[in-house]
Amino acid sequence: MTEAKVTMDVRSASDSASVIDINGEITSFAENTLMDAYTKATSGGAKVIILNFEGLEYMNSGGIGLLVTMLIRANRQEQTLLAYGLTEHYQQIFELTRLNEAIKIFDNEAEALASVNGAS
């Protein structure tokens, strides 16, 4: 199978939030990398996972499908997914696929974190 061309680094942003820094391509081949990152991001009890798309280079419909399954998994665990760093093009894709109705999009990490802190 074609290898995933993506790396995902996980870091803690606060007691309740983790950030996944995505660099590269999100296609169906990124499934293991994405799910491993999700598991790592939530292993410390984080209830909010913030996806940083600043390093996103390419995404196809298989990649959008992965984000949907990750979102469902997070919802089941009563966790929230947020996103920032999406270019206008990828924001349009979120709107087209209606993913933006379930994943709130912010301009930057500070705004995403402020929303977490404001809600708690």
């Binding site: 196809n60 399954t69 349009q92 087209l96």
Partner: protein, 250 residues
Amino acid sequence: MSEEQIDQTESRDAAHWAAPVSKLEVSDVPSGAVSLNVEGRHVVGPLQGFGQLWQKTYRVRLTDVEVTPEDVVGLLKQNLPEYMPDNSRFYPSVTGVEPGEVVLINATLPGIPGGIATGVMVLYSDDESFTLMCPEGHPESGWNTFSAYEEDGATIAQIQSLARANDPIFEFGFRFMGGAKQQEKIWNSVLARITEHYGVVAQVETRKSLVDNRIQWSQAKNVWYNAALRSMINLPIRMTRRVFKRGSSA
């Protein structure tokens, strides 16, 4: 990241995605197709439907044949209408399977006189895959991705759906009226046609995964657009029109 880099990044996949649309438009109706329940509808993804969310993957391994993933996807784009079984006819626009284009679908469903007229939008299309997204009222809310890739020296042809029933009636139909089985037969049949084309003898593998077992009761209202009911209600009108058309051409 500089602005120039961002522009270059966007151009890599931008041409493969449909342009943002608020409502679907049917620009031309292919001969023999019924265009109903598509014009003016919003597209709906796996998050908007009513029933349980399933990911179903159908794949077949094309062994002992020199064929690339691009060949397989090109073949499928070219022959999708012919590869669909008689109970589920696809009518692409003259442009074909291109991002943003609408593919009309006229299908038969158990217990639905006159069948169901619906369609899908080409959400994404590149050389190795394409994805069809459903509109409001379609039996499913979500999308189907047709793709091919290399694995261990062979090309795999794959169809993967990520979808849930759009409303309570379709959920009942999928679960208890044989709808899910009929759908599985359709995709098995399409992959079988690909193996026939390449002269390969291979079994289609099916993998089903229940992604979300919850029913989204807030989406029960989707029944308003139910394409099966609307097709049935529209049947007398279509039949009357056909009679008058015959009369005027006689």
